[in-house]
């Protein structure tokens, strides 16, 4: 019986038109391969960058790094405590300024603003442009207006205000996306039950949008943590051997400290900079992982 089946198959194959191609043509394969290589280059670059800073910084990855203050006479005893604490202070205040502002703006644009009105469109284009303004230009804003114009000086306050303006568009754009993902039917159901607009937003829209907003906020803050250029422009923040004690304190942050060590010629500073980079990347990687986890954990299909 089985042989019969095979025979029938053979006949069919003889009579059927050929559907088998001549194999994938070479140029298709080359194209596919080159696309794959594009991604591979990025990944290999990332891997070698991480490997390089780890190998260079390994010898200095010990408590000296976070217990000690910078030391330009004996770099082997130098550490980044003031920079780490400075980063914590600056980013804490940055979050306090930019998250509420950004989320409130996003609520206005998504829930209240009539997109047909020219001023709302102008606000929107303005935000899209601000998202792509070079960070050094925000530094000029910080220097010219906040530090010298308002007289706040080279302080934690100036730095966190500057950075919060820098990442504000990122917070706004990601919060808007999170709010927009909440289906219209939920809003209608709430309003039809006699809820006011703000009750609808506060009790239905925002709870559903929180995971998305949290993801965007974390990514925005991790951008602020890595920024050096605008703070560099504020000037004079390179050699700080004390932790901030308030918003009026002078300070340094990790990226600035790293930049400063890179600029030194002695070899000890290379490993010191590498070790500080490892710390910085570890912080960022942790934040990114939390953001990605949040997104995957709470991504809801309505």
């Amino acid at each position: 019986m089985s042989s019969k089946v095979i025979d029938r198959d053979a006949t069919i194959h003889q009579d059927a038109p050929r559907l088998k191609g001549k194999g994938t043509p070479l140029r298709e394969r080359v194209f596919h391969l080159s696309l794959w290589v594009s991604l591979a280059v990025a990944v290999v670059f990332l891997a070698s960058l991480l490997a390089y800073v780890l190998s260079e910084g390994w010898s200095r990855l010990d408590p000296r790094l976070w217990m000690n203050f910078p030391d330009y006479i004996d770099p082997t005893q130098g550490g980044a405590q003031s920079a780490i604490m400075g980063t914590v202070w600056v980013i804490g205040f940055t979050a306090a300024y930019c998250l509420p502002t950004g989320i409130l703006t996003a609520i206005y644009l998504e829930e209240y603003a009539d997109p047909d009105k020219w001023w709302n469109r102008a606000i929107e284009i303005n935000i899209q442009n601000l998202a792509a303004v070079p960070s050094i230009v925000y530094g000029i804003l910080g220097l010219g207006i906040i530090s010298r114009g308002l007289g706040f000086g080279q302080t934690v306050l100036t730095a966190s205000l500057t950075l919060s303006l820098l990442v504000l568009p990122v917070v706004i754009i990601s919060s808007r996306e999170a709010i927009r993902a909440v289906p219209q039917s939920i809003r209608q159901a709430s309003l039809a039950l006699g809820a006011t607009q703000w009750q609808t937003i506060w009790r239905q829209v925002l709870p559903a949008a929180v995971p998305g907003m949290a993801t965007g906020s974390i990514l925005a803050l991790s951008r602020a943590i890595g920024e050096a250029a605008p703070l560099l422009l504020l000037g004079g923040l390179t050699f700080i051997t004390f932790n901030p004690s308030g918003v009026q304190s002078q300070f340094t942050v990790l990226p600035i400290q790293i930049f400063n060590w890179i600029s030194q010629s002695r070899a000890e500073f290379v490993s010191l900079a590498s070790a500080a980079i490892v710390i910085l990347l570890a912080i960022l990687l942790a934040m990114n992982s939390v953001a990605i986890w949040l997104r995957n954990r709470y991504s809801r299909t309505w």
């Binding site: 140029r27 298709e28 194209f31 596919h32 080159s34 696309l35 794959w36 594009s38 991604l39 280059v41 990025a42 990944v43 070698s48 960058l49 390089y52 800073v53 502002t101 950004g102 409130l104 703006t105 206005y108 209240y112 606000i123 284009i125 303005n126 935000i127 899209q128 442009n129 792509a132 303004v133 070079p134 960070s135 050094i136 230009v137 530094g139 000029i140 804003l141 220097l143 010219g144 207006i145 303006l165 504000l168 006011t196 607009q197 703000w198 990514l219 951008r223 890595g226 050096a228 250029a229 560099l232 504020l234 000037g235 990226p255 790293i258 930049f259 600029s263 290379v270 910085l280 960022l284």
Partner: protein
């Protein structure tokens, strides 16, 4: 069944029973708060303009605008000072060009791969990886360019003088890698927005995947792809730390990427570190160069925003 809810309510039919039972000031206060928050972003733009214009204006009252734009010698802090911005612009364009030569093919390649070839699992691995790449601070990229890429280039350089310690090539290459996620993600967005039906139609006519990608999806997504590249240009023009660390601090009007050269951003940063006194011509150069940079990136950004709108209008 007595309930507070219904007893508080005016009976239907009584005069004005549909009017507000209690005033809702809260709702109004909240709206004012939301509008106020939205104005912060508007004030930011106004602040940037106010920060730039007066000092830049003062600068141009001392330095001829034409000389600034066409002069080939940039030495603002020397005596006699010279304010020709072309060396900075040249350095910026050189590094940007190198970055684009790296980022455009690789970024678009990655975008086509993720949008047209990769399955869901592959996308789930590579997209976060690109995000990590985008999240690496530029000071780290600069460090890597200076301490790792430049030595490698020097050691593998086949003939003649290799790259100098500070050079545009390494800085541009690393900047190109940095821009890949920007270009890839925006381009992939626009390709994903191309309707399935267009692809299905082409496949039904017997097209291969490569033909569908290059002849159907790519042209259909073109405005978004161009927007991605333009945004990439804007990021390259404005990037500071990589060039400040790896391209050097010498203004140098040269077409040789192996030499060090200073970009506009690197000059601004260097002048900022110098902590120049308010009102000095040196201090004002920061704002003059900054204004030029702001205008250049503004043009790119507005172009990119326009192009993105165009593809959204077509498919959404």
């Amino acid at each position: 069944m007595s309930s507070t809810l219904s007893s508080r309510r005016a009976a239907s039919g009584s005069p004005g029973f549909l009017k507000r039972s209690q005033p809702r000031y809260g709702e109004k206060v909240i709206k004012v708060l939301l509008v106020a928050a939205s104005l912060v972003s508007v004030l930011t733009t106004i602040g940037i303009v106010i920060a730039l214009i007066p000092p830049a204006g003062e600068f141009f009252s001392k330095v001829d605008f034409g000389e600034f734009l066409t002069g080939t010698n940039w030495a603002p802090l020397f005596k006699p000072a010279s304010f020709g911005v072309l060396p900075l612009v040249g350095g910026t364009l050189m590094v940007t060009l190198i970055a684009l030569l790296v980022a455009v093919p690789l970024g678009l390649g990655a975008a086509v791969y993720l949008s047209e070839y990769a399955n869901k699992r592959v996308r789930k691995i590579f997209k976060p990886l690109l995000e990590v790449l985008a999240g690496i601070p530029t000071v780290v990229y600069g460090f890597f360019a200076l301490k790792a890429i430049t030595p490698v280039l020097q050691s593998i350089w086949p003939a003649g003088d290799g790259p100098q310690i500070f050079n545009a090539l390494a800085a541009g290459f690393v900047m190109g890698i940095m821009i890949i996620p920007t270009i890839a993600s925006l381009a992939e967005d626009s390709m994903s927005a191309v309707p399935r039906a267009l692809r299905d139609g082409a496949f039904a006519l017997g097209s291969s995947r490569m033909q569908v990608s290059t002849r159907v999806v790519f042209p259909a997504a073109l405005s978004g792809i161009v927007a991605a590249v333009v945004l990439g240009i804007s990021r390259a023009l404005g990037e500071t730390m990589i060039v400040a660390i790896a391209a050097g601090g010498q203004p140098n009007l040269s077409f040789n990427p192996l030499e060090g050269m200073q970009t506009m951003t690197a000059f601004i940063a260097a002048a900022g570190i110098g902590d120049l006194p308010t009102g000095s011509t040196g201090y004002q150069t920061i704002f003059a160069v900054g204004a030029l940079l702001f205008v250049m990136t503004l043009v790119m950004n507005l172009l990119s925003i326009r192009l993105v709108r165009k593809y959204r209008e077509v498919y959404e």
